[in-house]
Each structure stands twice: as C-alpha cells, then as structure tokens.
C-alpha cells in the first residue's frame, strides 16, 4: 500500500487562539487521493494542551443539521501524552495503530480537519501557540 503523508504548516494552519472547546478548521489540499485510511497522527505543539482532531468528508465541516454534518471520526490527544525531549522545545503527541477510513465527498483530494482545544487554558495565537498536525494515510493501493 502506498502511504500519503500530510503535514500542516505552523504559520498557515491552526494559527488562531482557541478558548476551551473552540475549534479551528483547515482543509489540507493536494492529497492525491479521495479515500484512504488514517493510520497514525503526530501533533507537535508549543503548548501542552488537550487536543481533539475531527475529520469530515466535505468542506461543510461541523453543522447543526445532522444530515449535513459528515463527520467521519475524531481522535483525542490529551496533555498526558504530550512529551518533550530534553525537557525543552515542543510537545510531541502520537497516535498509532489507528484505522480511520476517510473519503472526500467533494472529490477534490482534500482532508478536512478540525482542531479543538479541550484544555482550560486557551491556545495562544501565532508563535506562542504554534502547532502542526501530521497524518499518515494508507491509500489502499
């Protein structure tokens, strides 16, 4: 199976502040596929907070209309799994052994992701709140 790696850019994605339970949504373009299986996720973050990552099938993302909301899964990455190296630098969070099938109903080779801060401390904007998200996707081929 071929692997597709998609990683956000710290200066372009998830750059705003997030109060508790707030979400910031991004569309990661250029996947080259419209369906696959997310097998692992890595977050790198300046702040050690509790993160949820939500995945949707189209750009509507979350909607109060349950028929329109095409959520396809989410993963929790609590601050208890955030580790630094040498007690300095960014916090690393990983989730392996995942099996989250995804499909893109818009057929535009894009992954629709939402980052939610579940911590009582708010996520800071910009440099003091830098965060990247990486997903490894099996394309099924």
């Amino acid at each position: 199976m071929a692997k597709v790696m998609v990683k956000s850019d710290k200066d372009l994605h998830f750059t705003t502040e997030l109060i508790t339970n707030a979400i910031e949504k991004e569309a990661f373009t250029g996947l080259g596929i419209d369906h696959g299986v997310i097998r692992s996720i890595v977050i790198e973050s300046i702040q050690n907070l509790d993160w949820d990552l939500y995945f949707w099938e189209n750009s509507t993302n979350n909607s109060t209309d349950l028929d329109l909301d095409k959520a396809i899964g989410w993963v929790a990455l609590p601050n208890t799994i955030g580790f630094q190296i040498g007690a300095t630098g960014q916090y690393y969070y990983v989730k392996h052994d995942l099996y989250i099938p995804i499909r893109n109903l818009a057929h535009n080779e894009t992954l629709y992701v939402g980052l939610v801060n579940r911590n009582g401390t708010q996520k800071e904007a910009d440099a003091s709140g830098y965060i990247t998200v990486m997903a490894m996707i099996d394309d099924g081929n």
């Binding site: 200066d11 890595v42 580790f83 190296i85 990983v94 990486m134 490894m136 099996d138």
Partner: protein, 143 residues
C-alpha cells in the same frame, strides 16, 4: 498476504553508547534498509540497565528541530521499567512492543531509519559497557 520484512538492529558497541541524563536523547541513523518507507510492526530493546525508554522515529537525519515545520516526527514508542524483564533474574532486560503500526517515510531518500533513544528515568543511562542498549525494529514494506 505475506509481507516483505526488513529487520534493523543496532550494535551495542556502535550505537547508543553515550551516557544519557533524564530526558536526554541520543540519535542514530540506521543505514542499509533497502527501502525508503515501511511500517514498523515490532520493536525489541535489550538493555543492561532497567530504565524507562522512549524511541522516536523521524523522517530525516535532522531529527528533532524547534522549527515545527522542519521537525518530521513519525512517532514514538514508550517502554516503562515495568516492561523490562530478565530471564532467571540475571543479565540484560528485554522490552518488546508488538502489534504496532507506525508508518514512516525516509524523506531524505537515503534508505535509513532515523531514530532517537530517550532516557525517561531519573537514573542516568551509563556510557560504555555498563550501559549497553540494542534496539531491533521489524519493518514490513508491503503494508
């Protein structure tokens, strides 16, 4: 379907030979994989000392970088001291993790596995013969 398996194993006298204070890391590039991507399915650690280990897997020989865009971490695995078992109460400690699914890509296209060993114990890892550690990765490339 049978998968092609690649086994990569460090050498006790060559890799991870330094002392490591708590949370410190030693990095190594394991060459000669013959592949640039695969899935790590098992990890075995043998160690003279019973310490808490993390093994980090990166996509480049830049390893960890404070620039989050430059840091290409693919994952890490933790081994607690309680995972370390000896046989007959003597000699090295064995730690294993099976049933893993850690996809990785060598973004350097060097057919290398870029690994960091972190000591999470308050006790320092010793350098040299009293602190020998060997790490073995089982990698499947057809997955």
């Amino acid at each position: 379907m049978r998968q092609d398996v690649v086994i990569v194993r460090s050498l006790k006298g060559t890799h991870f030979t330094g002392s490591l204070a708590q949370h410190a890391m030693e990095t190594e590039n394991f060459t000669g994989l013959g592949i640039d991507d695969g899935v790590i399915t098992s990890i075995i650690v043998q160690s003279d000392q019973n310490l808490a280990w993390d093994l980090y897997i990166w996509g480049t020989d830049g390893f960890d970088d404070t620039d989050l865009d430059a840091d290409k971490l693919f994952g890490f695995v933790t081994f607690a001291t309680t995972d370390g078992l000896r046989i007959a109460g003597a000699n090295q400690y064995y730690y294993t993790k099976h049933d893993l699914y850690i996809p990785f890509i060598d973004l350097d296209h060097s057919e290398e596995l870029h690994v960091g060993l972190v000591n999470r114990s308050a006790t320092a890892k010793n350098a040299g013969a009293t602190g020998e550690v060997v790490v073995e990765f089982v990698i499947e490339r057809g997955k």
